[in-house]
Structure formats: C-alpha cells, structure tokens
C-alpha cells in the first residue's frame, strides 16, 4: 500500500512508530497530485513549499513526543476556507487573486494539531452547484469515471479523496454539498448539526444553512476530523456551546436495538434501480445486525427544494453584496462612477449560476414579493423542521438514499437549472432542519459508479450516526475499493 492510500488513523500509527515521516508522506502526496490531478482538476492551488515547511515542523513535534491525531497528516481544504497567505478563490473569478490576512477557526484548529495543508480544492463557485461545473477554474472530473461529475459543491474535496491526492479534506454543506459529492466519489462525508463547527473564516453562501464538515476515506477518519474542528467559537455567534464528545471512542457502540426510520417519501417511484438495490441491501444488513426498521413519514419533503431555493438565494444575494470591487477581489476597469463600477465588477466577476441565484434571491426579498416568497419559505421551513422532530420521537436515526441517481455526465444537466436543483431533494431537508447527516459508500451501479447511503441523526446526534455508519462499514468492503487512477 502506498503512503497516499492510507487513512488518517493508519498514517498516524506509522508517524507515531516513526516508520514514515511527515515530510515523506507530504512528498508522496505532492507527487501523487502532480501525477494525477491533471486528469481530475481537484486542486485550484497546490502549496508544496509551505506544505513541506509544515511537514518538517510536524516531524520535529513528533520527535519531541508531541503527536495529535492530525499531526503531520496531509490535508486539502475546499477553497471556501480562508487561509492566511494562501490564495482563496471560492471557485470564483471575483476572488481569483485574493490572499486572506488570517486563518478561519477550522483551519486554525487543524494547524494547532500540526496538520499539513497541501492545497486548496476546487468547488462550485461560491458553493453554488451540484456538479462542480460552475467553478471558474473548470469542472472537476469524477475519479471513478472521468466523463462524470464528482458532485458538488465540495466536488474537489471528494474527488481528492477518491483520487488519493489528500488523506482527508474539509468541505462545506449548504444543501448537500458534502454528502452528495461524497456519495458520488465513494467516500465518507459528514454534515454536522448547524452550529457544531464554527463558520468563522468560511466564505458565506447561505448563512443559516452552511456548515463545515469532513470528507474522508472511512468513518473513523470522519470521527477524528470532526472532533478536531468541532466546538464553540466566540468569533461565530451562531456556534453552539455544547461539549464535543469523543467521537472515535463511541464508534463501536453497535446497532443492536437501534431504531432506524425509513422515510416513505424518500423511497419513491423513479428512484434509480441501482440506488434502490443498494438501499435494500443496506436495510437487510442493518436488520441482520439487530437494528429495528420502521417506516416513518416526513410529509413536507416535496416542498424542501422550493423552500431551499428561496431561502438560500435570499441569503446569498445578501452575503454576496460585499463583492463590489472596493476592498478586495476583482475590480472592473473602465467604469464611469461608483455604481457602474459595482455593476460591471459583479458582471465580470461572477459566473452564471451565481448571477442566477443572486437574481432569484434579490427578487424574493424585493418589495412586494418578500412575504409571498421569502416569509412563506421560512414558514414551510418550520413545517419541515417539525417533520424531523416528529420522526425523531419514533426513531434514533433515519436511513435514506443521498441522490436519486448515481453520478451523471458532465454537461448533462447544465441547460436546465431546475433539474439540477431537484437532484438535491434527499439532502436539502437536513440543512433546512439544521440537523446532521452522513454519507457512506454503499455500493456501485451496474456501470461501476458509486452509490452512497445517508444516515440522518437528531440535532447534535453526530456520535449516533457515526457509530451507525461504522457498524455498516465494518461489515462491507465498499470503502476499500479504489478509483481506477
């Protein structure tokens, strides 16, 4: 096994035993990026010099007997995380040359543990997209089939795991942007409960929905990485002050007696037969492990996509007002006067998906439409949240598909934004409800494309979905399969 194939916990053991140094591991990863990223396009920026300096520092730390789970581990970050001294583009032309003056909290926490940042990963522009085709830096290719999308918007983060060009990565999930690409690339992706991880230093898309989470090779790594970045942060007023459990220690709890709910609205006609088969197999496996399956109802599921696209775009139109060419980012040149500079700067700097969402959001918030669209959506959001609370009165965890189909071809849904939006139907309700969900590898289609399984937990129920996922992973081999690169 190559060094770049190892999980965080496997590499940690080797670093601790001094069988391998962080510099060796980092070099191996940088060589791997050099060898295969031309095909995948998972990285926007690779930081070899800085990474090797960080790796040397990690090796010194390890030599002194000071090793944390992430010390010396090569990680990649979605390019939405503010990184001091490293260009941060958010997949947009408007931030093409932006070099932040500080680190966000999640990044600072990784650095405190001595993680090595090898680069910044491709994404949909401002995290808007389900296929990574809206990046200014070009589409990411799915390592399992280079003609397919890796999903989005954390497509670069998921593809880097599948291409084995990062040991672990961080992404963000606003409507499924960690779980859906994790599913499409056969890796583990966890969206924590809203408020579990600080959003300070994460470029905002839709502030009431965005959440930071890990993408990893296995469930143990997801538990490790979540534990490293979770916790209260006074710099983020929406971060919640509750203790962070030891997620790794709780993994082997098992599922005997666990009540798993199957929301009937998620197992509908039209679900791809390969996805359906993978779900049936997973349900049978959990039953055999002693879990109790129950049908539950989330009656407002069909309203989630409409609700999401009003709330998310409204928040986005507000958040993206800061990109005006005054203080940072791209500025249009030949403008006569300030207003023209704003309009031209934004016209040149944003791609069409971002413009479309700003337009939708501005419309939904505009005079005369605010109550009919935005407030209406906020009320339906209440109903969707209540659905989840009611379901969690009956069961501990919900089991659902992640996406209605396996990964689709690049370009297939670009002309029809509504069809693209509908592909997120199974992930969006979790963000609206603010609770947590995980995607784990659960099989492959007849064409060899990955299929993921979603486990949804109660608010702050990350430990439960992790242990439920771990029980599945222990009995299956899906997470061990490697993309043909």
């Amino acid at each position: 096994m190559e060094i770049f194939d190892l999980t965080i916990h496997e590499l940690h053991e080797k670093l601790k035993a001094k069988e391998v140094s962080s510099v060796e591991a980092t070099r191996a990863m940088l060589d791997r990026i050099e060898a295969v990223d031309g095909q995948v396009n998972a990285y926007i920026t690779v930081t070899p010099e800085q990474a090797l300096v960080e790796a040397e520092a990690a090796d010194k730390r390890i030599a002194a007997g000071d090793i944390a789970p992430l010390t010396g581990i090569p990680v990649g970050l979605k390019d939405i995380f503010i990184t001091k001294g490293i260009r941060t583009t958010c997949g947009s032309r408007i931030l093409e040359n932006f070099v932040p003056p500080y680190d966000g909290t999640a990044v600072a926490k990784l650095k405190e543990q001595g993680a090595v940042i090898v680069g910044k990963l491709n994404q949909d522009e401002f995290a808007m997209g389900s296929s990574n085709e809206s990046s200014y830096f070009g589409p990411v290719k799915n390592p399992w089939n280079l003609e397919c999308t890796p999903g989005g918007s954390s497509g670069g983060s998921a593809a880097a795991i599948a291409a084995r060009t990062a040991t672990a990565t961080l992404g963000t999930d606003t409507g499924g942007s960690i779980r859906q690409p994790a599913s499409h690339c056969s890796c583990v992706g966890l969206k924590p409960t809203y408020g579990r991880v600080s959003r300070y230093g994460v470029i905002a898309y839709a502030s009431s929905l965005d959440q930071v989470g890990p993408l990893t090779r296995d469930v143990t790594d997801a538990a490790l990485l979540l534990g490293a970045v979770a916790g209260h942060d006074p710099k983020d007023s929406t971060s919640v002050n509750t203790p962070v459990p030891d997620y790794v220690a709780g993994l082997a709890t098992g599922v005997k007696g666990l009540k798993i709910g199957l929301p009937k609205q998620y197992f509908i006609e039209g679900l791809d037969p390969d996805v359906k088969r993978a779900m049936d197999e997973a349900i049978a496996l959990y039953k055999s492990l002693g879990a109790e399956m129950r049908e539950v109802s989330l009656p407002h599921t069909e309203y989630a996509v409409a609700t999401y696209y009003l709330i998310a775009t409204a928040e986005a139109s507000s958040n993206l007002a800061r990109y005006d060419g005054v203080r940072f980012g791209h500025r249009a040149e030949d403008a006569r006067g300030l207003k023209e500079m704003f309009a031209k700067t934004r016209a040149e700097g944003f791609g069409s998906e971002v413009k479309r969402r700003i337009m939708l959001g501005t419309y939904a918030l505009s005079s005369g439409y605010y109550d009919a669209y935005y407030v209406k959506a906020q009320k339906v959001r209440t109903l969707i949240m209540q659905d989840f609370l009611n379901a969690f009165n009956e069961v501990d965890v919900l089991l659902t598909p992640i996406a209605p189909t396996p990964p689709f071809k690049i370009g297939e849904k670009l002309a029809d934004p509504l069809q693209m939006y509908l592909s997120d139907i199974f992930t969006i309700p979790v963000n609206l409800a603010g609770t947590c969900g995980i995607s784990i590898p659960a099989g492959f289609s007849a064409a060899g494309l990955p299929i993921g399984l979603q486990l949804i937990g109660k608010p702050f129920g990350e430990a439960t979905i992790l242990s439920t996922a771990y029980a599945f992973e222990k009995e299956t081999q899906w997470h061990l399969k490697k993309a043909p690169l």
Binding site: N97, Y102, S208, E302, A306, R346, L383, M385
Partner: protein, 95 residues
Amino acid sequence: MKITRSEVEHVARLARLELSDSELDTFTGQMDGILAYVEKLNALDTEGIVPTSHAVPMENAFRPDQPADSIGVEAALANAPQRAESFFRVPKVIE
C-alpha cells in the same frame, strides 16, 4: 408568465448586476420556470405558522467587551484593488 424581461432588468439593477441582452433573455426564462416551481409552496396552508429564520433557537450571543488586536491597516488594505495612503480608492461617487 410569472416574471417579465423588464422585471428581470429591474431586479438586476437592485442587485447591482450588469446583464447582457442574452443573459436577460436566459434569466427571464429560467427564473420564470423556477418561480413557477416554487409556487407549489402555496398549496400549503401556513396560517399561524411561525417563520424559521434560523435552525438553532438561540438568544443573543454575548461575550465580554474586551479590546483585542485587529488585523491592522496594512493587512486590511493588502487586497485593495486600488488604494491611496490608508484608504480604499474608488471612482467618483458624486454624479
């Protein structure tokens, strides 16, 4: 038709986005389709339902009012497209 081309033009002005003629046509069609789709929310009776603006019910987040270091003038201006001394330079504001 939920939205007309002239309404899209108006929204673009509100959003400070200069759109080309072809963008205006494309967005008019696409926004019309999306707005027709979101109409489905009207099938739900939401009378008396409290709107949710946030997933976590929280009171104000207070912290001690203690002065701390800021990033400083040079770091704040480091990404400025144009600057003049300690200021961001912009085109003429008064028209």
